[in-house]
């Protein structure tokens, strides 16, 4: 073993720059891989751990006062797998509150913080004793939406403002984010009673916390509870369960984890290419030494081992360091996810992920190195001593200088390209991969931060400039006046209501005529037109394997009807668990349905804020609530813009670092291998500048082709790739803009960065002296 450690150390010492570079690339790959593995492996588990820690009810049902009866508790207790049922009082109101400074539509459920209850306990993340009139504990999620302790939280419902002072942030595993369409607010006894007394009694309900013997049965139990309640409810009601909560609360992290893993794979692939390239180069350079080793009695496998062991050692050491760095990079990632998930993800040292990362990195490099080096076994000692068989094909002289057109430096650069085929192939693949990564980052950022229309269309239901909650939709005069306003382009009622399909509660999006919408969320088939038609969400399609043309049964209250499926729709907010029905269609199962949400689309130059103010002044009584669509969208987008910004910066920094590191290895190899040629060139009169330009220029066509191919593949497949990545969120179609100027900008940027790096790195040509050719 001693002899191999001597060989390994001497090799690393001799090419320390290149080994360090290789190590840095592997370290980045290991760091990102470990982050991805930790997220994929632990994030969902950490949700479950928190769920268990707070003894969260596995199914939570909220029934409003007129519908609730203690009999339901007894009946639910009889359902298989139900361990116990606890109850607590709550106030459920529709309304809006501020998110990052602008109004946001969302139901709030107010609980009595001091009421003793066995299940669904809260975890206090942060609190402060403040003397105030209306104290409230709010979800930890709001601490990322512009709120801090001591701030006032205002919930507006039916033009009435309820203001509370935030005294603490809590983790609530059920109603902790907007993902269930309801955000939990927790008021101390006195505040709760005060609110209860001030609101309409129809808003008071009972929350049943249902604990199961096995939470894996939560979906099945939910189906039985829905069956039990079906047809008996006169008011709104809600049933949520563990599996669904887990899915919606952890999906952002799942996508983030997948992004990390995908990026780690790209860098890992680059590392494999580098190790193969370096080993091939080592074999060429060390051919005679290998001949000597064979001649003195080393076996083929021993020489292979001595060739690849340095790469394995570097891979091992770099992956261990990379794993260490991944824990330094974890806090900002945790913070970004906390903002989405509403609970603190605390991740300690993960032995399994770390071991997996180190083993995977080392084994991949070991295998790729061995496969590249195994040709050494076939090498005869005498052949190796003579310098081996030349790997280049010299039979054809490409770009013969007396026939090729163009400047001598350009022709020489072209000859270099052909002569360095393998290096150029490596560079081509790396430039392609980095171009695609950079375009991905640019596309995400552009479509989230600069021109978010396509992103919004993908993740949300149609958004209008102004959303009004109307007191009486039969008031046709009011509607006519609004439609005739010079600022208004057109109006459309767009409501939603809960229906039950396949024993699960789903959201139905309702409008009279879907063709009037400014865009369709339908990704296959078409929106419903007639009252017996329905378009169903992607989750329903996957769960029940429905096809267009099938029929589906929809229940609301006591009525059940059959509808014809005309299309499939996407909805990130509902994770594909939703349907589209026409106004006449919903009335078949809910004859008392009354439209209340009016979408107003304004003309281009209208100022939304001023228009809303005008509306409120003029029609104060007819309007129960207003939402500035643009502002609320902007505020909801803040978190996505932040994540996209971080992602873009990380990818671009890593892209530049990768290009620099790869070019460092390539330029150094080109100069090292071409030392004699460069010396001859200097001897016959080429200046250092000319040779640096030649070396730099020799990378130009490869980088250019890599950028063009990368750009082409990005342009052709970016949307389908992003759909694949976001499929888990419920995204089925995507029309992200990929502006040509951005594509060209990324390409030109990579080209210039590459050439600048190559020119700077080729500065070491200066050190090569023609005089070195002298041999005594």
């Amino acid at each position: 073993m001693g002899k191999f450690s001597i060989i390994t150390l001497s090799k690393i010492r001799k090419n320390k720059g290149q080994y360090i570079t290789f190590g840095i690339i592997l370290m980045i790959a290991a760091m990102i891989l470990n982050l991805g593995l930790m997220i994929k492996r632990n994030f969902q588990d950490s949700f479950t751990e928190k769920w268990d820690h707070y003894d969260t009810a596995d199914v939570t049902a909220i029934l409003m006062k007129p519908d609730y009866s203690p009999d339901y508790v007894q009946q639910i207790e009889q359902i298989k797998h139900v361990k116990a049922v606890g109850t607590r009082e709550c106030i459920w109101m529709s309304g809006s509150y501020k998110m990052n400074g602008s109004q946001f539509d969302m139901d709030n459920i107010f609980f009595n913080y001091d009421e003793a209850h066995e299940y669904s306990k809260l975890g206090i993340v942060k609190e402060k004793e403040i003397t105030c009139e209306q104290p409230a504990y709010v979800s930890y999620y709001l601490s990322f939406a512009g709120y801090d302790i001591g701030d006032t939280y205002v919930f507006t419902t039916n033009n009435v403002e309820h203001a509370f002072t935030i005294v603490g942030f809590v983790e609530d595993m059920t109603f902790g984010t907007q993902s269930l369409g309801k955000l939990g607010i927790y008021l101390p006894e006195e505040s709760f009673q005060e609110l209860k007394d001030s609101v309409n009694q129809d808003n008071i309900g009972t929350c049943m916390d249902i604990k199961l013997t096995d939470k894996k049965e939560s979906k099945a139990v939910t189906a039985e509870i829905t069956d039990l309640l079906s047809g008996k409810m006169t008011e709104k009601y809600s049933v949520n369960y563990y599996d669904y909560c887990k899915q919606v609360r952890t999906m952002t992290a799942s996508v983030g984890g997948m992004c990390f893993l995908a990026f780690a794979c790209v860098i890992g692939l680059v590392s494999v290419l580098i190790s193969v390239f370096r080993i091939n180069n080592d074999i060429e350079v060390e051919m005679q030494n290998m001949g000597v080793m064979k001649a003195v009695g080393y076996k083929g496998i021993q020489i292979i081992f001595s060739t690849i062991v340095s790469y394995i050692v570097i891979a091992f050491v770099a992956s261990v360091i990379g794993v260490g760095f991944s824990y330094l990079a974890l806090p900002p990632v945790q913070a970004a996810f906390d903002a989405q998930t509403g609970f603190c993800w605390q991740q300690g040292f993960d032995v399994v992920s770390s071991l997996l990362t180190v083993c995977a990195t080392t084994v991949i490099i070991l295998l790729s190195s061995y496969l590249a080096a195994r040709k050494i076994r076939r090498l005869q000692a005498i052949t190796a001593l003579r310098g081996g068989v030349k790997t280049h094909n010299f039979k054809k002289n490409y770009f013969a200088m007396d026939q090729a057109k163009g400047n001598v430096n350009i022709v020489l650069a072209l000859k270099n390209i052909v002569a360095n085929g393998k290096k150029n192939l490596l560079l081509l693949l790396v430039i392609m991969a980095t171009t695609i990564s950079a375009v991905f980052a640019g596309t995400m950022y552009y479509n989230m931060a600069v021109e978010p229309k396509a992103f919004l269309e993908a993740i949300s239901e149609p958004i209008s400039d102004v959303g009004l909650t109307i007191a009486d939709s039969d008031d046709t005069q009011f509607l006519e006046e609004i439609e005739q306003d010079d600022n208004v382009d057109f109006t459309l009622y767009y409501d939603s209501s809960k229906v039950t399909i396949a024993q699960e509660e789903r959201r139905a999006f309702i409008t009279a005529d879907f063709s009037k919408m400014d865009y369709s969320i339908c990704y296959e088939g078409r929106d419903p037109i007639h009252n017996n038609e329905i378009a169903i969400g992607s989750k329903l399609v996957e769960e029940e394997n429905y096809k267009i043309g099938d029929t589906i049964r929809v229940t609301s209250g006591t009525i059940e009807e059959e509808y014809l499926i005309t299309g499939f729709i996407q909805s990130v907010n509902e994770q594909g668990s939703c349907v589209e029905l026409t106004e006449e269609g919903i009335k078949r199962v809910n004859p008392s349905f009354k439209k209340s949400q009016l979408n107003i689309y304004l003309k281009d130059n209208t100022k939304t804020g001023a228009y809303i103010k005008e509306l409120q002044e003029q029609y104060g009584e007819q309007i129960l609530g207003t939402v500035d669509g643009v502002k609320s969208t902007e505020s909801a987008m803040q978190v996505f813009i932040r994540i996209a910004g971080i992602l873009a910066v990380i990818i671009i920094v890593i892209t530049i670092a990768l290009i620099a590191l790869i070019l460092f290895i390539l330029v150094k190899t080109v100069i090292h291998n071409g030392k004699v040629n460069l010396g001859i060139s200097k001897a016959i009169g080429y200046t250092t500048r000319q040779l640096r330009l030649q070396t730099t220029m020799s990378f130009l066509p490869v980088v250019l082709i890599g950028v063009i191919l990368g750009g082409f593949f990005s342009y052709a497949f970016m949307n389908s790739s992003i759909v694949l990545l976001f499929h888990v969120l419920g995204v089925m179609k995507l029309t992200f803009l990929l502006p040509i100027p951005m594509l060209i900008g990324v390409g030109v940027g990579i080209l210039l960065v590459s050439l600048c790096i190559a020119y700077c790195l080729s500065g070491r040509i200066r050190k090569i002296s023609a005089y070195e050719l002298i041999q005594e």
């Binding site: 030349k390 280049h392 010299f394 002289n397 013969a400 200088m401 007396d402 001598v408 020489l412 000859k415 270099n416 052909v418 002569a419 004699v676 040629n677 010396g679 001859i680 060139s681 200097k682 001897a683 016959i684 009169g685 080429y686 200046t687 250092t688 500048r689 200066r766 002296s769 023609a770 005089y771 050719l773 002298i774 041999q775 005594e776």
Partner: protein, 251 residues
Amino acid sequence: MKTIIETKKLCKTFSNEGVQQHILRNVDVSIYEGDFTVIMGASGAGKSTLLYALSGMDKPTLGEIHFCGEEISRYSDDKLAVFRRKNCGFIFQQIYMMDKMSLMDNVLASGLLVNKDKKAVATRAQELFKKVNLPEVTYRKFASQISGGEAQRAGIVRGLINKPSVLFADEPTGALNSANSNAVLDVFSSFNQEGQSIVMVTHDLRSALRGNRILYLKDGQIAGECNLDAYTKEDPNRRDKVNEFLKSMGY
């Protein structure tokens, strides 16, 4: 005779881990136009060091080098490169053809540095290849595909493509067999007869006999000089004269 190169108190010192080695010590030497100057000496005497200093390939530690009237010893690396491409041709013992280029491309890579007219340079290269007896089928090949003698003759073509003031040769026959050595030396003699100034370093007596002036280097200084102008190439006394000179130098 016109002096092409003149050195004044030329010194070259190498330093290795604090130990200094004085290779050239106050060398004053002149190289004349049209001469075939041979530099001889024992191993380590500083022959190649002097050759590369004279040709601007390496910079002296001290002293001056006047080449065609220009004082080149303080030129920057790039200025020296430009100077070399116009005034110096080189032939190396190890030949040093660029391995990824055909012989013709090697020659053109040098020629096109000075003359941008590709056609004119290619025509001159073809003429030179013809003179050194290398047919087209050979000069289209790579150096690794031909014999050492052929490669060295191509090296001479490369050295002469820019019509240099002086052709410098560092043991040009050192790596060749007897037949190839003679062929290469014949080419040297032929070009010298046409007026080409040549400075050649050699160990080999047969090669030295091709020159008309022999400088003997000893301990970094010119220890002696032998002029053969009085003897024709066929004169049997020429060899005796050289032998006698070398013997007196302790060779």
